[in-house]
């Protein structure tokens, strides 16, 4: 079914309490800023599990959602960029799971691809493997990583078409394609939504079958950073 074009507020209203939400971006680059703003300002959904490389920055992006006390659990590779998230995790206020960045990306990819998990040498034998199944494969200690999926994925793409095909720009791609594939409901924030047929088929990074909602982007990273300067 083609993606439905809607507003950020209407799309975010579909997120219930207790939802597990994947959020694209590496830091703020490639993060769906319009959708995050709507989630923070226009939604009351709480008890959320957030899967994202970082939990925003202090008071910015997902950091605002954390301040509101609406995140129950976070799965990420790097919390340090938001000292408030580190503090919440250390105090027990935030349940957290720390996963090596490549394992996180691959687990999400696996989730979208129907892979039931994989063994990786990354992290095996370290503190991060505690409580996980480990086994030696061809003489190398490996740790079992289950796939990661979500109820909702919030992703950002610079270009899209009316069907929901997406094309990312520069290093704003990062986690977005994998996350778009791994959620029951994928909401894509797009800067430039063109007519169907406006994207060269070979240039499409995320085919439209992964995308359920299309939301025009109104908050741009360049504007945010300009405001800070």
């Amino acid at each position: 079914m083609p993606a439905q074009t809607t507003t950020a507020v209407a799309a975010i209203a579909e997120i219930p309490d207790g939802a597990t939400i994947m959020v694209g971006g590496f830091g703020l680059v490639g993060a769906p800023l319009t959708l995050i703003d709507a989630l923070v300002e226009q939604s009351t959904a709480t008890n959320l599990t957030i899967i994202s490389n970082n939990v925003g920055e202090a008071g910015r992006g997902l950091g605002l959602l954390l301040r509101q006390g609406r995140i129950k659990k976070a799965i990420a590779s790097f919390f340090t960029s938001n000292p408030e998230a580190v503090e919440a995790a250390m105090s027990g206020a935030l349940v957290y799971e720390l996963i090596p960045q490549g394992t996180l990306a691959e687990a999400i990819r696996a989730g979208g691809a129907g892979i039931a998990g994989f063994y990786t040498p990354v992290g095996a034998g370290t503190e991060l493997a505690e409580g996980r199944e480990q086994r030696e494969i061809d003489g190398v200690l490996c740790v079992l990583q289950p796939p990661i999926t979500a109820d909702v994925a919030l992703v950002y793409a610079t270009w899209g078409d009316g069907l929901g095909n997406l094309r990312y720009r520069r290093t704003a791609q990062n986690f977005n394609p994998a996350m778009a594939s791994a959620a029951a409901l994928t909401i894509a924030e797009v800067a430039e939504i063109g007519p169907v047929g406006s994207l060269e088929p070979e240039s499409i990074h995320t085919p439209h079958l992964y995308v359920n909602r299309l939301v025009p982007s109104t908050i741009r990273l360049a504007d945010l950073q300009g405001a800070d300067a």
Partner: protein
């Protein structure tokens, strides 16, 4: 006396071979491009999804959507390629990165590395550190010989949580180059006028000396 970090970065730059695919960690490794011989064309990979990292942009030419893994703006080299995080780490984990150069809190005489966590510290993040040291064909550690508290960083066994065991190939400090030869730690070079006695005083790991 030279700036210790520049001594380390300058020596590390000479480890890189033309044509290599290289991933540079934050801190001292980030200074390496300043010391690379222009004839030594290496291809810089950054784990957030770019092969072909160019110099930092000049003011007014920053593209906010083009950053490296330290979240700083970069430029693209001719022939650069961009991909998603899963593909980027498939390159790393799959053994397609020739060399990673990164910092460390501690390295042991068995080649174990600890560089992601200080117990009781204010950081909570591993990022791509574990992926990089396990996946890259060659792991070069660039670090000052002593920690800020004056303790040696090249030690018999790591006391901080490990990033990975037995993966380090080369260690470059401001005073020395060490290499692992058949799992044995070997001091192979003195830097910046240092003596064997200076290196011995700041190293608690056991090693043998084979200066070239």
């Amino acid at each position: 006396m030279s700036d210790a970090r520049d001594v380390i970065a300058g020596r590390a730059a000479r480890e890189l071979q033309p044509g290599e695919i290289v991933n540079l960690g934050i801190g001292i490794p980030n200074r390496i491009p300043n010391f690379l011989d222009p004839a030594t064309e290496v291809f810089l990979h950054t784990e957030n999804g770019l092969l072909g990292v160019g110099p930092r942009p000049v003011a007014g030419e920053v593209d906010v959507e083009l950053i490296d893994a330290s979240k700083q703006p970069v430029t693209l080299t001719q022939g650069a390629a961009i991909f998603d995080s899963a593909a980027s780490f498939a390159m790393i984990r799959g053994g397609h990165i020739d060399t990673v150069v990164l910092g460390a809190l501690q390295v042991s005489e068995a080649g174990d590395i600890a560089n992601w966590m200080v117990p009781g510290g204010k950081a909570l993040g591993v990022g791509g550190a574990m992926d990089l040291v396990v996946g890259a064909k060659r792991v070069i550690v660039t670090m000052t010989a002593l920690a800020p508290d004056g303790e040696p960083k090249l030690i018999p066994a790591c006391t901080f949580p490990l990033t990975a065991a037995g993966v380090v190939k080369t260690i470059i400090t401001e005073h020395a180059v060490f290499r692992f030869v058949e799992h044995q730690l070997v001091l192979t070079e003195l830097l910046d006028g240092a003596t064997e006695a200076v290196v011995a005083a700041e190293t608690s790991a056991r090693y043998r000396v084979e200066l070239a």
